[in-house]
């Protein structure tokens, strides 16, 4: 009886200890579960959010014709994965293109060959990408600017979103530059 009580107390203590994690990123008060969407990846295959469960995800939105900030963010994310060492394979990087019109699966495959094949890129269906962006609270806007020979560019949320192993969006990292902070948060979720 008393042993049971002490076990129960120890259990409560453990639970209490687990609770206050000092997250570096902005923790969502209520984790978001994305609905099942008809997403398509760079292999032009259906991508089910549920199939990514069991991995902690780093999610970022961008477009391949953004040659400065987007590869900078992807570089930081890549380094954050590398910093996990032997646990790196328990993390997935999901990059959502906000420019599927130009970032076709074939184009993305070629682009990734230059960067890192391990990224999973969501592309193809703009309506589904819009839904996903809405779930994450990502805003993006097509813009034209003076002297731009490229036709159009985008203003977009730059954050990295950390998703737990059950597929819930848990944390927002606005500053992708602070590698160690993201790595610490990801470790807590592994």
């Amino acid at each position: 009886m008393s042993r049971f009580l002490s076990l129960a107390l120890a259990g409560t203590f453990l639970v209490a200890c687990q609770k206050p994690i000092a997250w570096n990123g902005q923790a969502l008060a209520k984790p978001i579960q994305p609905p099942e969407l008809a997403l398509v990846d760079q292999k032009d295959e259906t991508l089910r959010w549920q199939n990514l469960h069991d991995k902690v995800m780093q999610v970022n939105f961008g477009y391949s014709r953004c040659p400065d900030i987007c590869p900078l963010a992807l570089g930081h994310i890549k380094n954050a994965v590398k910093a996990l060492g032997d646990k790196a394979d328990r993390v997935a990087v999901v990059w959502v293109t906000i420019d599927p019109e130009r970032d076709t699966p074939a184009y993305i495959r070629k682009y990734l060959a230059l960067l890192d094949d391990r990224f999973i890129v969501v592309t193809r269906e703009v309506t589904e990408i819009d839904k996903l962006a809405k779930v994450f609270g990502v805003h993006y806007k097509r813009v034209l600017y003076d002297g731009n020979a490229d036709g159009y560019a985008f203003q977009h949320s730059a954050a990295v979103y950390v998703v737990d192993r059950r597929g819930h969006v848990r944390l927002i990292h606005g500053d992708t530059g602070d590698l160690q902070k993201i790595v610490e948060d990801v470790r807590h979720l592994l």
């Binding site: 032009d44 961008g62 391949s64 014709r65 953004c66 040659p67 400065d68 900030i69 987007c70 590869p71 900078l72 570089g75 380094n79 130009r102 076709t104 699966p105 074939a106 184009y107 495959r109 070629k110 682009y111 230059l114 960067l115 193809r124 805003h139 813009v143 600017y145 003076d146 002297g147 731009n148 020979a149 490229d150 036709g151 560019a153 203003q155 977009h156 949320s157 730059a158 954050a159 606005g174 530059g177």
Partner: protein, 167 residues
């Protein structure tokens, strides 16, 4: 005889003027130097087999890249980078990107100032030369020509290596 001499003198003066006009750097020797230039990898076009969805007849334009370097000004007067060009891109633009309130954006700038006796760094997340509409793939290790035009120093040519981001 004296007419001939004055003609000779005139042409000598004209030649001197011409030399100064072509190479203004002679007047103010090498005030601008360019260091640590590198470009990001990029792709020209998708593989031709783009799948059935690529139904639009419009040809796919090339992708983009960015070039970074440090500009140093040893002179006593401010100079400005006013234009860039490279044969590997349809157009080269002077750009700045920034993240404001969590939103990333990019815009063209008319010039990039280099203070007298100082330096200006073009680096990821800030100032860059954007190579718009690549005509060829830029792979790590490739070397590409870049021409920079300055308000004072004139035109400078350099070779830029394609690299992954230094970390």
């Amino acid at each position: 005889m004296s007419k001939r001499k004055s003609q000779f003198r005139l042409s000598a003066v004209l030649m001197l003027v011409a030399v100064i006009a072509i190479a203004p750097a002679w007047a103010a020797p090498a005030a601008i130097s360019i260091e640590n230039a590198w470009a990001r990898p990029g792709i020209a076009t998708a593989a031709p087999a783009g799948g059935a969805m690529q139904s639009s007849a419009a040809p796919m334009k090339g992708g983009n890249s960015a070039v970074y370097f440090i500009l140093k000004n040893a002179g006593t007067t401010e100079d400005r980078l006013i234009a860039a060009s490279s044969p590997v891109a349809t157009k080269s633009e002077l750009h700045i990107s920034r993240i404001e309130n969590g939103v990333a954006s990019m815009r063209a700038v008319p010039d990039i100032a280099v203070p007298a006796g100082g330096s200006t760094e073009l680096k990821p997340g800030g100032l860059h030369v954007m190579l718009v509409g690549l005509k060829q793939d830029l792979k790590v290790g490739d070397r590409i020509p870049l021409e920079l035009r300055f308000a004072r120093a004139g035109v400078m040519q350099l070779t830029v290596e394609v690299k992954m981001m230094k970390q």
